[in-house]
Symmetry: C2
Subunit: 243 residues, 2 copies
Amino acid sequence: MIKTIIFDLDDTLYDATWLTNESRKGGLKKMIQQGLNIDMENASILLDKIVNEFGSNYHRHFDVFLERIKDQPNIHPKKNFSVPKYIAAGVWGYHSVKVRYLKPFSDVIPTLKKLKQLRKTLAIITDGISVKQYEKILRMEIIDYFDHIFISEEVGFNKPDTDFFSYCLKEMNFKSEECLYVGDRLDKDIKPANEIGMTSVLIHRGGKYDPNLKNSNEKTEINPDYEIYTLEKLIKIIESLEN
Amino acid sequence: MIKTIIFDLDDTLYDATWLTNESRKGGLKKMIQQGLNIDMENASILLDKIVNEFGSNYHRHFDVFLERIKDQPNIHPKKNFSVPKYIAAGVWGYHSVKVRYLKPFSDVIPTLKKLKQLRKTLAIITDGISVKQYEKILRMEIIDYFDHIFISEEVGFNKPDTDFFSYCLKEMNFKSEECLYVGDRLDKDIKPANEIGMTSVLIHRGGKYDPNLKNSNEKTEINPDYEIYTLEKLIKIIESLEN
């Protein structure tokens, strides 16, 4: 019997890929509004390149961005070019979008409510910086639905280490066969869930790790027990497993 | 003739003392809402103590706060005490208040408009971290009123160094007798403005450095040319200086 449902966070409970892209665009827009003479398309291409080089958790993307463009001719109209002014504009634009549009997918709250009615234990297992992940969970106002939250930085393991999953099972006092795990990534979610013996559910959200976006070779190596496009399907899966 | 009006930022153009206090309270409130078992009064006293110890620009006050209280009996109701969860709640509460209530004093925009109509050059000279100060100026939507913005970190001087003020004069191409300087602090604003020969105006905003809050000994050592309680008085001062 499935007693606990465990969720990944980014691109499973909210649209991380979209939100990050929009937030970065929001930052660039504010910089341009403040006088930076660069078009959005070229700016986006350069910023994406920097994010790839430095990793998405690096917190000075806009600093590097300005460092790279500041000597281009006509990049700023006035004689007093202030790098910190443009960084501040970028940070302002980035955070305004992030705070405004950070919402769970529309199927999240209804599904969490139904699972609570079914008396399931609910948990999150996610990679990331603890304070940042908790801030998202708090701002989305979903924290009270969860009995357990495990974040890689706080716990000391990273996905896809199965020791991370074993640690969580021990803390929750469940066996792996009592758990259903839902995530958007084959490599970091489905692989360890399968290896440890949980029922694995791949959710397609169209995010940057969605296997539908990748070539079919990669996709067939790791096989989830279920594939879904909306969380509401979880209820049916659980019912079918219990009959 | 007064050609340029130079403003300090914090507690001169917006209510920094009040906003910082309210933001910290906002952080503590969210922590308590999330289950931290401490009353607001004791929490505020402890947080103030930490801010005094570490300085107001240190960015981990809530971390130190939680470190100090986490071993108190009954401080948190559930068995799984997560420090990052409470830090995230604090950060969320702090920033929500800060973003929502960061506004210029009500006399700022009308005064800046009138000064622009009088064809004065407008500037800011402020201590602080460049990106943080620019973010405030941008979010308050007052940046377009200013011809020059000088921030200590960006320029490489700190108040009350008169070299900071000389540097700004040179950049703006004005003589000190053509400048009127408005700030809330005797030690960091009025003293250097007097020393360099600007017309000095002390504004009383009731912030933490307002000399009205201090003993009279300190107050009499440094004498501003004018003392005002609302920026609108500036217009009259300038008119009287020009007649």
